[in-house]
Amino acid sequence: MDREPKEALAALEALLFAAGEPIGVGRLAQIMEIERPAVWQLLEELKEVYAQPGRGLTVREVAEGVQLVSKPEFFPLLSRLGKNREVRLSNAALETLAIVAYKQPVTRSEIEGIRGVSVDGVVNTLLDLGLICEAGRKQALGKPLLYATTAKFLEIFGLKDIASLPGLDSIRDSRQPEAEAVTLFGEQED
């Protein structure tokens, strides 16, 4: 595409506005008919523009994509307008979500093994909220369902991707040798 640079920037801004939800850079490149590095370049420029005083928006990298959002300093102001779409989670739900996030894919009984209580209700709540999803079945006795986190989880918790979960390395390193059968992120070699 041989647009004027300024025009491309405006186009990207309009796209991000219409997308609303996090959108992948690959998809932006496809729509704008330019290369990915060019999209990244434009995103950097857009961020610089938004960093100027007098702008209320910013671009954040979240859920394996980018998203146009309001600047966090306007949160108190925007709260007066109305509450942010927030998902209130109980401690039980948060603990269960943490286990799914760090150990995914994981079965219900594996979650129960860690929490020491039945998790049926909590798992169903998280499924209903769209924070976790079914992710196949484990090749084990009874072929139990496996659960993993969703893109919505990443968005709500402001995570770029699963690899950017805080403290993920400590969980990986401490994994017992017996648990290595769980091919977690498919990249573990040690």
């Binding site: 309001s70 860690i114 769209g130």
Partner: protein, 236 residues
């Protein structure tokens, strides 16, 4: 007791145990079992009785604690290569440590969620443009969709009452029929009606009657009709 806790506030037995250990500043790697057992049991007594499910999980850990305590009281097994005599608390400690780590991670997640919620965003405006991200759906949603389709086509999904037949009853019934038909009963007629399950039970009933010697079966030629006769009619 010095320790006062609201059991309702606990997520589960491990949570309660962890709280006891932390409140009393105990060494998680060297848990004084007698003290922990006593306090755990006291906390159990304050459990609301109505939640059977949760209650049983609290009891399960309680019994584990008592078991560990009893193991510690017993003299160590001597003889054999008991060099690596395992501390009975080891497994419990591993469970507690893992649970505690996920509790901490859950707290970190909550922090992240709070930080992320400072950004306001809007839902997508482009669904009319076609391409919509496919969200992973639970199986339940698929079943509901199927049920809705079946509903529209008028084929209501009904509940099928289970039917059970007892072989004793069938045997009685066959004997009753035989008493009325001394000339013999057409084997095929016994299977004229009834569900598959009922037919199976009838057949088993006949086999059992044969085994008991209560009936006799005869067939005049190959592939001809089979007749069942009562044994006592023959004798008497």
């Amino acid at each position: 007791m010095a320790l006062s806790v609201k059991v309702e506030a606990f997520e589960g037995p491990l949570d309660l145990l962890l709280e006891l250990i932390e409140k009393n500043k105990l060494d998680i790697y060297d848990i004084p079992m007698a003290q922990v057992c006593r306090q755990y049991m006291e906390a159990l007594e304050r459990l609301p009785v109505f939640d059977m499910e949760l209650g049983s999980e609290f009891l399960l850990l309680g019994s584990t604690l008592l078991y560990i305590k009893s193991r510690l009281l017993l003299p160590k097994q001597t003889g054999g290569d008991e060099e690596d005599e395992e501390d009975p608390r080891e497994k419990l400690v591993a469970m507690l440590l893992e649970y505690r780590r996920f509790k901490e991670l859950a707290a970190q997640l909550l922090d992240r969620q709070r930080a992320a919620s400072l950004y306001y965003s809007r839902p997508a405006l482009y669904s009319a443009l076609g391409e919509k991200t496919l969200e992973p759906l639970p199986l339940v949603a698929l079943l509901q969709a199927l049920a809705a389709v079946l509903d529209e086509s008028g084929e209501a999904l009904g509940y099928i009452e289970p039917q059970s037949y007892s072989m004793e009853e069938k045997m009685e019934e066959i004997l009753h029929l035989l008493r009325q038909a001394r000339q013999g009963l057409d084997f095929a007629r016994l299977f004229d009606s009834g569900s598959r399950a009922e037919k199976v039970v009838s057949f088993l009933g006949i086999l059992e009657l044969l085994r008991l010697g209560a009936v006799r079966i005869s067939q005049s030629r190959a592939f001809g009709p089979i007749y069942i006769f009562p044994k006592e009619a023959e004798n008497g």
